[in-house]
């Protein structure tokens, strides 16, 4: 199957050495050799605790931060081929940016408070110089309708502070989709929203994915949300992917102890249901995963279900 993005051994280190003259370099391996690919039209959930490297991965993938090493190939619809991010010319970088968009977590901080909604959504079109001025405004009106902000005329002249959290997040979605991207990175787009609004934003994103053939890399710490949104889920721990599988398979048949712990920590909205208690020793887990100088191989346990380990038997703690 065709992929929109293929990530191979992505590494992102941060230099946290103290002092200008310090000889010893202290390095934090925020993302430590992760690999995944996303087929066209499918969505991958990236799940893990705070600080496990989810957002760093996202930022490295859309060229906001330079990656340390690794290969990232993306599908460029304008050239109809997979291109490696390392050897793009300026035009191709622009094409990449057009086709890869991001939706951020906080709709209160990711929209410029001094710009009107029209300016905000228009900006990508201006930067990439797409269409005539008139066409651009038409496109903005059209996209506002698509994301359910109707009538659009009411929203065009408004400022972000006049909108509610849910409406703002719709504006963020409109801004990212106006470029007709094939791949959108969503960094916890619903975690700041109220329960009742959350579902309508999630449904909107699912509908748009179907209609516009967009693939999502959906970052979240909530497995229940990931289950609703994604075809596959990758579980991340300390900068590494420990398990990756189809959503239902991962939830019903988790193999890695960290995945099991993560699933067992999600509250269930049913008072009659008692969650299975699953405790793991995080220090021990840390040792197994991080102190391995070489990356653990991903073992296929069938049904496109991969676990990071030398031998699945090792994980039966």
């Amino acid at each position: 199957m065709d992929n929109v993005i293929e990530v191979n051994n992505l590494v992102k280190n941060f230099d946290v050495s103290k002092g200008f003259f310090s000889r010893n370099k202290t390095i934090v391996k925020a993302v430590d050799g992760i690999s995944f690919s996303i087929p066209k039209g499918e969505s991958l959930g990236l799940v893990g605790q705070s600080g496990c490297g989810k957002t760093t991965t996202a930022r490295a993938l859309c060229l906001l931060d330079p990656k340390t090493s690794g290969d990232v190939k993306f599908y460029n619809p304008e050239a109809d081929e997979m291109q490696n991010l390392d050897n793009l010319n300026d035009d191709q970088v622009k094409q990449f940016r057009r086709n890869t968009q991001m939706i951020f977590q906080d709709p209160y901080e990711s929209l410029n408070p001094r710009w009107t909604i029209k300016d905000i959504i228009l900006e990508p079109l201006n930067i990439h110089n797409i269409g005539s001025l008139e066409n651009r405004t038409e496109a903005v009106v059209e996209i506002l309708k698509t994301v359910g902000l109707t009538p659009p005329e009411n929203y065009l002249p408004r400022y972000p502070h006049e909108l509610s959290g849910g409406q703002r997040q719709r504006v963020s979605i409109a801004r990212s989709l106006i470029m007709n991207p094939k791949f959108v990175i969503c960094d916890e787009p619903t975690s700041m929203l109220d329960v009742s609004i959350r579902i309508s934003i999630m449904d909107l994103m699912l509908d748009l994915a179907k209609d516009l053939q967009v693939s999502y890399l959906y970052i979240t710490h909530d497995l229940a949300v990931a289950r609703y949104m994604c075809n596959r889920i990758a579980v991340m721990f300390n900068g590494k992917i420990v398990e990756i599988a189809k959503t239902e398979d991962l939830l019903s048949n988790p193999i890695h102890p960290y995945t099991k712990r993560l699933i067992s920590s999600i509250p269930v909205p049913d008072p009659k249901y008692t969650r299975e208690k699953y405790e793991i020793n995080f220090d021990e887990l840390d040792e197994i995963i991080s102190n391995n100088t070489e990356n653990l191989p991903m073992v296929d346990v069938g049904n496109e279900h991969f676990v990071a380990t030398h031998d699945v038997k090792d994980l039966l703690i």
Binding site: D194, S196, A224, Y228, P267, D270, P271, Y273
Partner: protein, 324 residues
């Protein structure tokens, strides 16, 4: 049958603002028994936290309690003077605020900050006694004694939140209000804190009021619960009964809009529209404009807001009981 420790009767509270009165708490009535865990759930701005701050009389300056009573262990709290209230707060009722872990004073050691609270309420205790007390509390919430000599920035979010819980327990209150104690935390840490709160509650026989927007947490933590919408309670009763037989249209929507990791994957229902403005209050059922499938009574606003008893101890607002 254990006795009621907290009885809130017909409580009304509003905020005086330039645009008018914001009716934040309307006719709220509920009671909490000894050792019981009571949940308050609803979306942002529904008045959950206003209820919490009113219970301790910690509301902001522009808040006015217009009527109603709050009886804690048969003592009336509404109308108490500030010095009387200071004796009640922390000794009888304490609170863990939302994001309280960020409220530690950054330049004072954790232990000293807890000692300060105890000293205020038990001035005759010696420093050694207080330290022993804190060490006991730390054991309950799963912290090591050495944390006492640490500054807040040296602790992780989960540890700070545990210390806040220890602080809330420091004067042996009968009832603890937990106002979204886990919202800023990670799923795994949230899980640990929830277990800790449950353990503490059972160990000390505390009454607990648990406030959250997450209905899944309420399902796990509470025996009885109330669903709030636009400043009013729209449904209340035993948690199990509300989950198995939700009667109010809003409760049903809340339950159907929560994703879960177990069971069949369901299509979730979205709730359209915005909660109503509470300025100058509402006459009829507050939920009618957003009601997905209103009954005739609901559409025409025939019924005033009134809780009716559906089955033993399970109450719901009469307006939206027959809506879809």
């Amino acid at each position: 049958m254990s006795k009621d420790i907290l009885v809130v009767d017909n409580l009304n509270m509003h905020y005086e603002t330039l645009e008018g009165k914001v009716m934040a708490v309307n006719n709220v009535t509920f009671s909490v028994k000894e050792g019981e865990s009571f949940g308050l759930v609803g979306e942002s701005g529904c008045g959950k936290s206003s209820v919490a701050s009113t219970l301790l009389q910690l509301q902001s300056d522009n808040a006015v309690i217009s009527s109603g009573s709050i009886k804690l262990d048969e003592k009336e709290l509404v109308g108490m003077t500030e010095s009387e209230l200071r004796k009640v707060r922390w000794n009888d009722i304490s609170i863990v605020f939302q994001g309280a872990m960020n409220a530690w004073n950054p330049v004072i050691k954790i232990g000293e900050q807890i000692r300060e609270a105890i000293r205020e309420h038990y001035p005759s205790n010696s420093k050694k006694e207080n330290t022993e007390k804190i060490s006991e509390l730390f054991k309950i919430v799963g912290l090591e004694d050495s944390i006492m000599d640490r500054y807040p920035h040296e602790l992780s979010g989960g540890m700070k939140q545990r210390a806040v819980i220890a602080l809330a327990l420091s004067c042996d209150p009968k009832i603890v209000i937990a106002d979204e104690p886990t919202t800023a935390l990670d799923v795994v840490i949230q899980d640990q804190i929830l277990k800790e709160i449950k353990k503490v509650q059972e160990l000390l026989g505390l009454s607990l009021i648990y406030i959250s927007h997450d209905i899944a947490v309420i399902a796990e933590m509470t025996d009885n619960m109330a669903v709030m919408y636009a400043g009013s309670i729209v449904e209340k009763g035993p948690t199990a009964s509300i989950f198995s037989n939700p009667r109010h249209a809003y409760t049903r929507l809340l339950l159907e809009s929560t994703p879960s990791v177990v069971g069949e994957k369901k299509k979730l229902r979205a709730l359209d529209g915005e909660p109503p403005s509470l300025i100058n209050g509402l006459d009829a059922c507050a939920f009618s404009p957003r009601c997905p499938d209103p009954s005739d009574d609901c559409k025409n606003g025939n019924l005033e807001m009134k809780l009716i008893e559906i089955e033993d101890g399970h109450w719901a607002d009469q307006c939206c009981v027959n809506c879809g």
